[in-house]
């Protein structure tokens, strides 16, 4: 009897302990959620450096926007080019050839003071120029984004492009048809694209009269390499496309442009 009583008592204790354990676990889970909530929702995103191919104004830039009057002397390595006496090359090892002319020129024409002044000027320029450059690059990027499609290939007419209710031209019908085929062959998971980023790829491709696809180029790549890859794979998978209808065929091959977004093909 005593043993049974003791057993019952221990069973009761175990039930209480189990209940306490459940409560503790629930509290722990709640604390974890609450901790995240209190510590500012999501953990701070790690620093991401996006590298894009932007040409900054410089020696290779296409259009120097500001007349760099006083900055002209920047192209002062001239003395280096002009002073190339062959004699020092004979006397000294070839490694020092590049340095020596400078020293010689500087030693003859300019003293230390002018060099210091020039150094100061250069430092000032280095301190100022990058800001202007960055501003210009940013402005150019913003303009580019505002511009819209990179070429006429992406301009649409007919239904859904302003003229509401108008019948589709054969070209548009063909475009819709091939967009549907590519869409079906296109598989990508939107979860793998960073939230908040605008992903859009402008792809131009040539369709031969028989339907085979060639010369696939990105007029504008999206920021996600994964997205770009899936787009290319979808186009490769869709080739050959249906033959180009005769009424659409202007020349031998048809060059079209498609805009890929996570929502679909435009």
């Amino acid at each position: 009897m005593n043993g049974r009583h003791a057993g019952n008592r221990e069973g009761g204790r175990f039930a209480v302990a189990f209940l306490v354990s459940v409560v503790l676990h629930l509290a722990l889970v709640a604390l974890a959620f609450l901790g995240q909530h209190l510590s500012g929702a999501a953990p701070p995103d790690p620093r991401i450096i996006d590298v894009s191919l932007v040409t900054l104004p410089g020696p290779g830039s296409p259009e120097p926007e500001e007349p760099a009057g006083p900055e002209a002397p920047v192209i002062e390595p001239e003395p280096v080019e002009t002073v190339s006496p062959p004699e020092p090359v004979k006397k000294k090892p070839p490694k020092k050839v590049a340095e020596k002319p400078r020293k010689n020129v500087a030693g003859e024409k300019k003293k230390k003071e002018p060099i210091d002044n020039r150094l100061k000027e250069l430092r000032e320029k280095v301190g100022q120029e990058p800001r202007d450059d960055l501003r210009r690059a940013l402005a150019r990027l913003q303009e580019k984004v505002k511009q819209g499609p990179p070429s006429d290939l992406y301009k649409r007419t007919g239904p859904g492009a302003g003229t509401y209710g108008a019948p589709m031209t054969p070209y548009e019908e063909y475009l819709v048809r091939i967009a549907g085929i590519i869409q079906r062959n296109w598989s990508f998971t939107p979860r793998l694209i960073r939230a908040g980023t605008v992903v859009e790829a402008y792809v131009a491709l040539t369709i031969q009269p028989g339907g085979s696809v060639s010369n696939v180029t990105f007029d504008r790549k999206s920021v996600s390499e994964y997205f770009n890859d899936t787009v290319l794979k979808a186009i490769e998978k869709s080739s050959p496309l249906p033959p180009v209808p005769e009424e659409v065929r202007r020349r031998e091959a048809l060059r079209i442009g498609l805009v890929f977004t996570p929502q679909g093909i435009e």
Partner: protein
Amino acid sequence: MFESNADLLHMLSGTGPVVLFVLVVLVLFSLLSWAIIFLKAGTIGKALSESRDFLDYFFDVASIDKVFGESENYSNGSLARVFRAGYIEYRALSDRKEDRLAEERIARAIRREANAESKRLSRYVSFLATVGNTAPFIGLFGTVWGIMHSFQSIGLTQSASLATVAPGIAEALVATAAGLAAAIPSVIAYNFFSRQIDTIERDLDDFSGEYLKSFLNELR
């Protein structure tokens, strides 16, 4: 505000059925092991402290009848329980004056109670050892399974970028984390309770002889 919470839940909901099953098993292990930890912390703690108090009283008072009366107050103390078992046997034999038989019977009663007490204290403790040994492996199994599926999906998406690989692996690693979270407290508690039970068992061995002597003195 609740984006991160949603992310955590989303991450758990994104795991496959096997990983989810592993997680459920590990949570159950954790619940049971913590229940045992709470239960044993109370039982063993009381057994130790009441045994010490009872021993102090036992050596202070000469009459075993008085000690027996006081032992009622130490119902959780292991040494008090063993003493009570011996005393009950001694009372049953007090009419008989056959010393040899009485000594044997009281000694047997004390030994039996000491064994029962040892079993009572160490009940469920072995489960802690089981959890401590197996939970990390169960978690690891879940992780391996999750990573297998993650690699499969890499093959399907045909992209090995970090964005493709990382979410699957993060989901899978939850299982290992859960396994370790269940195992670590269990191992710590098992070692702690084992030492305390060892101490009590040693006390029982040491003082069983003392009890027997005191009962025999009363008989003579």
